[in-house]
Subunit: 364 residues, 2 copies
Amino acid sequence: MSKYLSEKFNNLEPYVPGEQPQDRRYVKLNTNESPFPPSPKVIEATSVSEISIQNLYSDPTAKRLVESIAKYYTNYVKERGVDFEFTKDNVIVSNGSDEVLAFIFNAYTDKDKGMACPEIGYGFYPVFCSSLNVPFVSVKINEDFSLDLAKFKGIRENICIANPNAQTGLYITVSDIKTLLSENKERLIIIDEAYCDFGGESAAVLIKDYPNLIVVSTLSKSRQLAGARIGFALASKEIIQDLNTLKYSFNPYNLNRLSIIAGSVAMEDVEYFNKTREVIIKNREYLKGALTALGFKVTNSKSNFILASTPKMGGKELYLALKERGVLVRFLSDELLKDWVRITIGSMEQLNTLINTIKEVLGE
Amino acid sequence: MSKYLSEKFNNLEPYVPGEQPQDRRYVKLNTNESPFPPSPKVIEATSVSEISIQNLYSDPTAKRLVESIAKYYTNYVKERGVDFEFTKDNVIVSNGSDEVLAFIFNAYTDKDKGMACPEIGYGFYPVFCSSLNVPFVSVKINEDFSLDLAKFKGIRENICIANPNAQTGLYITVSDIKTLLSENKERLIIIDEAYCDFGGESAAVLIKDYPNLIVVSTLSKSRQLAGARIGFALASKEIIQDLNTLKYSFNPYNLNRLSIIAGSVAMEDVEYFNKTREVIIKNREYLKGALTALGFKVTNSKSNFILASTPKMGGKELYLALKERGVLVRFLSDELLKDWVRITIGSMEQLNTLINTIKEVLGE
């Protein structure tokens, strides 16, 4: 720390991303990446002619990507009987969903009014609050990790919920979110759907009727583009206007040329998206079965990971034993999760390696 | 604006980027892009195999790019007789230099101590201050647009100077910067060198001896990668630590996979870098001559643009007349610059089109 750093950051504890070790090759099941490459159409669209014009700035409005996202969600809600047309005024894109979350936390909090989140969620939420010097209000969850939405009553903060939960994979229904929105019209409800495409329903169906809703998502998980850094938010025109004001005050050209193209093509290749996420869902259920057979408890995850716990050892011990054998899973530092590890749903080959390694570790 | 937006943003006026019109093709000389494509080695390195692993997160430390930048500047300062080894501890990379500037403004200002900048500079500096609710201290420049560094005496703020100046192209010497650093050891001096590679000398030679210096730069101009969004800062280990604390509290994976590769290869292809910037410098001197012959005043720019003014019409009028004829230059809204337009140094073909169009407009 330099002597010049503003005192406001004296107590800032940055987020610690999942390990990206370079020392050896691991079966890497720790950061919820997709085991599939990007859509072949994405690879084709990232052509030499596009690569060759990177001397030119990217479109600060990222029009092409914004329109592809709007089109996808218009179809999505129409298929579910909601007559709403998403336009560019309902979408903002960002350099990973972390960036748009940072804009949201900044836009809608101040020192008197922070953000309320379930005590277990995405580990970045308290960091955003800390970096903005605003209160983080941690809301207790049930012992089985499920949310008790009644606990949000009487809190004056806006609310941010990862759905499915970023650590447990548990999911609250759109109908529950609707109740939360109806009961809290003066508060914003942010639903972070990074993991929603693996069995959940998107709260995008509620944007039409609830101006107090923001849906956040990413192309990192279900669209195979973690390395291209693309996130987005859906909301009312007024909210998107707020967030664009922040974007144009921090980083107008926040998406690069190739990510705009890749993201747009990935959003439009619904066939590849469906095919790959179906495999992930199938593999997840396979892993749940295999680990249960080995005496594990596993969460009923609707995500591309599961949380798993064995009575035979603590989470950290299991994580270290697997790492030593070349399989990387994630141990989450929260005290509530000390018995658990979070395992990304990889390919069948990766999962079988994991299962065999676990058997070895447990001495079965 | 939504009713939820925090009051702290009531008066925020976002930055307005240069036009990126989609309606027709222009000879585009308004946003200081390079007329050259990225290095052939960059194009080669952005291979299908790299594109195909975008399902994996990028390296949050961007090691490969950070090391290439450190290596470039180690050679740079050694060639100038300064024995200093830049390491990963002296470099941070960002999603365009706007992002690292935002980190710097955030890290080193608060409500009691803002940032002091010359009244004409990069238009984003006052916006950063406004978005952070910290004072922007505007320091008067001379009538010929040159800086009077004595005017920074007695100001308690940290100082941020674009060198060359982002609007006038004028340049202050490393020896002047050294004096500023020596006289202000308790204040940080930020030198934004976005345009430094076209005839200026980098203040990187002073990093070794001045822990109160931050040098900011970008790969957007002299390395043909505006569309890949890559910026960086050089400073002491302590300062880089501060900035990493902020990065890991906002957006740890702030650079995408392909930009890390492109940036690294571009930094290492010194031959292409030198060849292209020499052409820009030659073309700049050609344009200065041609416009002077047409009765224009032009600034003594050390950048990849010049500021030009004709007694025959105002800046806005000239900008509009050129735009109507398919040539885009930049009219800068500052009252001090109302007689001027900023013209990017393009290819000879673009410049000759510009010159002929100007002749047409002036009726010569």
